[in-house]
Symmetry: C2
Subunit: 204 residues, 2 copies
DNA sequence: ATTTGAACTAACAATTTTGTTAGACGATTT
DNA sequence: AAATCGTCTAACAAAATTGTTAGTTCAAAT
């Protein structure tokens, strides 16, 4: 009947556990329990905790990378509109994946041996997008519609504003208390604020 | 001669280890080794790993809190100047404590049992500052010098822009590659950019 | 029908990690 | 000088954690 996908179950459980507790905090026994399998199965399919983890981290890194490309990579819109939509859709992606950034930031930080591989992946993704955006911005600068700005800084501004509230939610929420009675309403406000901040940053 | 401050040595070593690897990644044996003492000493002075960790986390939380107050709490300046200086001095604090935010964000996140205590500490620190700033902003709004804005969102904008680059430095650096050949130069650029972003956000 | 091989279980092994304890040592007090 | 007290060591204990292995089961291939 059900071809019971053990490998998949383990992956799903591992994803949850690793995202929530990080590599060191996650325990293979706990993952196995959550997946409903013997903990020997975990070693059968993935040899080691490290290999299982690598699989998850790689997936998440690629997901995070794609999210930026997908959000800002619509080349057939006017740049300003493209940026607005980009901020919004990047933000929406984060609403769907709220603990992705913290996970990546931490695990990447504690794995300097990966820096080289990552550096290449990241630049490959970012460079094209950046150059394209910069050219379009330069046109608007020429027309006097926006101020001159290094697109890298602009994109970093966006990422800072968009990502940080998710990374630090437990610390922010108390400050906004009643305003952010429910999370989703708070996040809607932030999305709007971020767009406002960026538009004001570039408009003349 | 030297009254050899064992307790202090342990605290210093623990701070390093915990900040670098987090609670789960840190090992008491490694802390003891770094402190140059038997690992039994660690239990002699602090009973458990948990208690030692609590001491560090509490210190760091208070440090982070104070840094915001100290940076933005100069009440005898015009608000705009106060904000500019605040951004700068908060940023400088982060340059001196680059992995403080990641540490706090992670460990707080993985300790929901502390949320209540923290909520109170944080609101106590923030509320006064916020109200004071809001009143001064309202004056400028009345004079038509700045646009109306919820100070909480404004401060969050600042914190996002200031803190995130430190949290995510390993992921950002590859994008800026040559520009950020050296860290400190990159951070100087960011400090200026952040001030620019915020000033444009509020000026009419 | 037999073989083969992937998926699986239960038990165990090895190591790491936290925490304890009995007692030593030296300075200070009485 | 004897007792006391805080500091410390060395050895040990207990638990947790990762990883292995011998052997079972069952379906598909030959």
């Amino acid at each position: 009947m059900k071809p019971k996908d053990t490998e998949g179950e383990i992956l799903r459980a591992a994803e949850q556990e690793f995202m929530l507790k990080g590599f060191d905090g996650a325990k293979t026994a706990s993952i196995a329990r959550a997946a409903g399998v013997t903990h020997a199965m975990l070693h059968y399919y993935f040899r080691t905790k490290e290999q299982l983890f690598d699989r998850i981290l790689t997936d998440k890194l690629s997901l995070m990378g794609r999210s930026v490309l997908v959000s800002f990579g619509t080349p057939d819109l006017p740049v300003l509109e493209r940026l607005k939509r980009g901020i919004g859709s990047h933000f929406d992606f984060l609403v769907e994946n709220p603990d992705l950034p913290r996970f990546i930031v931490n695990e990447v930080f504690s794995r300097p041996e990966r820096y080289e591989v990552m550096r290449e992946n990241i630049s490959r993704i970012a460079d094209g997008l950046m150059q394209q955006l910069q050219r379009e911005m330069d046109v608007l600068v020429g027309r006097g519609e926006v101020v001159a700005i290094d697109v890298r800084h602009l994109l970093l501004d966006i990422v800072c504003l968009n990502v940080f509230p998710f990374v630090a939610y437990p610390l922010i929420e108390p400050v906004f208390g009643p305003v952010a009675a429910d999370r989703s309403q708070f996040f809607e406000m932030r999305k709007a604020e971020n767009i406002e901040v960026i538009m004001r940053r570039i408009k003349k």
